[in-house]
Symmetry: C4
């Protein structure tokens, strides 16, 4: 497990030079020492437990039976996360930088709801207290700091940003057009009450989810639906098939039999170990199991 900020925080947040603040920094922000790793594991456990409590709290039966337990646990978590937050800010040289960073904001969002419920009671009238408390679910994002691969994933997504947007825009254009067709063809009587709803159905169909809450009833509607389904599935199946076909064609001749890389003879059955034309051994990865 990697320390969440090891490679960037030293300069970014300002690592203190010495003293108790340096010791705390080593424990909280770094994971080279035993204490640092123990801190990280403990925090991970607290985050998961706290999210589990938020989820359990929403199940009517559990909430009724364990009302006081959840209340207590929740205050426990809030206090612990507050202490962690304060400790983080206290032991770096540039606390504002952390407070405004992604993880700093997540930390704030993790503890704020419980306090807001107490400090600003009028909020009751505007936002359901339950909603506020559910913001605690964002604590789950604190987990993202602990895994190096997430930063790689994030970077890979950012670098492919343009391709993804282009792809998405083509899909959006198709679902808007198709949704409009279905709205005209099927009409509100069959569930397609407006273009936005028809577009929602089109997305359901093209992504092959297919809830079934809205389905085409007319022949033309079903025909267009079939076209959309084949497109949505085909976007996955056609490239996959093409890529595999190209890989296979390098190993197989045009009649689908195994090709000898040496002489090009392509009439070998699967069990053959040597090319019957030139005698060269046939590649092992092709021979076993194919």
């Amino acid at each position: 497990m990697e320390a969440p900020f090891a490679d960037s925080s030293a300069d970014r947040f300002g690592r203190p030079a010495a003293g108790w603040r340096r010791t705390w920094y080593t424990i909280i922000f770094e994971a080279d020492t035993k204490a640092g790793r123990a801190f990280d594991l403990l925090l991970l456990a607290l985050i998961v437990a706290s999210v589990a409590v938020v989820m359990a709290d929403s199940v009517h039966d559990y909430a009724a039976r364990h009302d006081r337990l959840f209340e207590t646990l929740e205050w426990g978590f809030t206090i612990l996360f507050t202490l962690e937050y304060v400790a983080r800010l206290a032991c770096i040289d540039r606390p504002m930088r952390y407070a405004l960073s992604f993880f700093g904001l997540v930390d704030l969002l993790s503890v704020m709801p419980t306090y807001l419920a107490i400090l600003v009671p009028e909020l009751h009238a505007l936002i359901d207290i339950r909603v506020l408390r559910l913001l605690r679910i964002f604590r789950i994002l604190k987990l993202a700091a602990y895994v190096e691969e997430y930063r790689f994933l994030g970077g890979a997504l950012r670098s492919s940003r343009r391709k993804i947007l282009v792809f998405l825009s083509v899909v959006l254009m198709i679902v808007v057009l198709m949704g409009t067709f279905m709205y005209v063809i099927e009409g509100p009587a069959n569930g397609y009450t407006s273009i936005p709803v028809a577009v929602y159905w089109a997305i359901t169909t093209m992504t092959t989810v297919g809830f079934g809450d809205i389905t085409p009833k007319t022949d033309l509607g079903r025909f267009i639906a079939s076209f959309m389904m084949l497109m949505g599935w085909g976007v996955l199946a056609v490239p996959t098939g093409i890529v595999t076909a190209e890989m296979t064609s390098q190993r197989l001749g045009p009649r689908g039999l195994r090709r000898c890389e040496g002489c090009g003879c392509d009439e070998h059955v699967r069990e053959a170990r040597h090319c019957h034309a030139c005698g060269a051994p046939l590649p092992e990865s092709v021979r076993t199991g194919s």
Copy 2:
């Protein structure tokens, strides 16, 4: 368009040396001449039209209104396909070979039902005449002779036979196990009336089809269902992600930024045209659009 038997029939079915049989062979089995191509196109059109009639005949409204038209068309198709079949057999030296080959059997199956209905009226009692007539749908397989790629597809499938069977067996083991769990957990009251039905549901879930005719109602059932859904979708998503991650990591350094192939410096933003460390130009495919 390729003649369906060009590369194999000369020896396989016995191409006649000369005479009217040779002329017919050239037209029917080969597509090098204008007549040969015209024959093939005409036959393709007849096949598609005949399948369309079978489909239209099943729609109650159409069948009622166009009863006599369909009857006449159907006799027309049957006679034409019979003539084609007889012609094929007549102009080769080894007719039995063709009659027993895949396409020979398909040809026979395309015309037999209509005759059986007339010649063996007692069949009425055993097999619904409609079912017999629906066997005509197999004519659609005659189309497969006309496309070279199908033979390649067939060969590729045959050579990967073992891999596909292994994969399928793993899937079958999983759905039998999971289906049995759900049968025990949910029980017949919730739709899982027997293990085979539960296995059908498990296949529905793992292949991400999700009809919704049977759905888990208990918490544990939904938990197992979630596990299965993630597995079925993950089988597609995880490898796709791994392959893409490997490809991307060759272009990007560990922080997801673009890497200069020359010096390994990996801190280039997307718009950069040259490596800021060594000056080498950055690859175009990475620069445009990424």
Copy 3:
């Protein structure tokens, strides 16, 4: 953002040599200048806003409440798009070429419905005025001019045209055959009212969409459905698995452990940094995270 016609319109539509037409051409058809880019951005915003109005207009509640606003906005858009269309035609040397090109037709289709509604009132009786107005949704295709990648996508699709058609034809043959089986086995009583409807169900199943509006009730029907679901999902899963297996087998020996590229020894656990047989360092991409 690229000018939509930069590389082709100069000769294709006839770029005027000088004068106000040349200035307009630079703004409308090219995006090298500030004015050109501003024009493009403004047009993009107008297109998106206009499509949003068409969509909102279909929602019964909104249409009732904002009736006059939508009417006004719609006339605004129509006038603006008409001016744009006229301007485009006015500032090139070969206006007919543009008028007959894809984007020229889309532009015409974007403004025509509103005018037709006024000029040809008898159209009321034939085509619902709402339908006419919904043709405005085609404006969304004007967006395609602005993204270079669409032309690449279009070209890639065209070049793979044959492969896609072959693939689609195989899928169509399978769904027609399977649909017919299900029509016979399940019958109209279970929802499979005709072969076309059964084929619609077969497409729903093979593309893993699974609406659930029609589901098999008999044992044999469910068995065939299972077979189809495994095929539709398998088309995606089997190639993905094979490709990944091949990539992995180059890194792993037959027992799935990491292989040292140098000496072929294949018994390294994930954390190993050096081959324990020959001492060579193990590749980094294999070591980190695997």
Copy 4:
């Protein structure tokens, strides 16, 4: 077919040196001899038949009609599998090692339920005898010993363990967050009775299964659902598209036409056989069928 333990059991379980135990070992654990292969095939048939009986036993109709037959068959299988288990333990030098290995435990689980039902009748009150009997379904895992590829699959999965876990954790974070949103937005009235249930729905949606037992009814809910569907499908479609686009771009120039590898000229239509700029022949795999 490979002997299940050929490469590991000789040392792992202790192959006896000589005598009847050696003969039995050769038959049971190895498959080099005719007897060995025959034993394996027989056992495979017994396993499949026994699983089929467990499945048929759950179908109410069959169980009623063939009650005594199933009972008899089941005792037959139990006795045969017990004999096999005892034989395995008897003919190796380290029986405990086998008994505690994966397959040893599966073997035990295959015969235990039937005996438990007889020996510990009080178990009736605690666990439904049917459940016990259903544990027999684990016999299906005995099949895994017979296919070499499973061990490769297992190894490949183990080596990609970390990647899979990271991927799964991202998916879990997303479904917990989205599930919570939908719980707040839609609420119990629309089927989202608690956060765990909403998370179950979120998994249904993101994996594109889409049962339809719970569906969003509000506009905002449908909007979030659309976002999730596009994400779940996009995870499959975007990488597939990117990989294919990269492969195709190596063959095609930026306008999607075929590129001549020699001179880079990229304006060749599909049927071209030679580059019109430099005369070099265009690659065959690109020419045929594209």
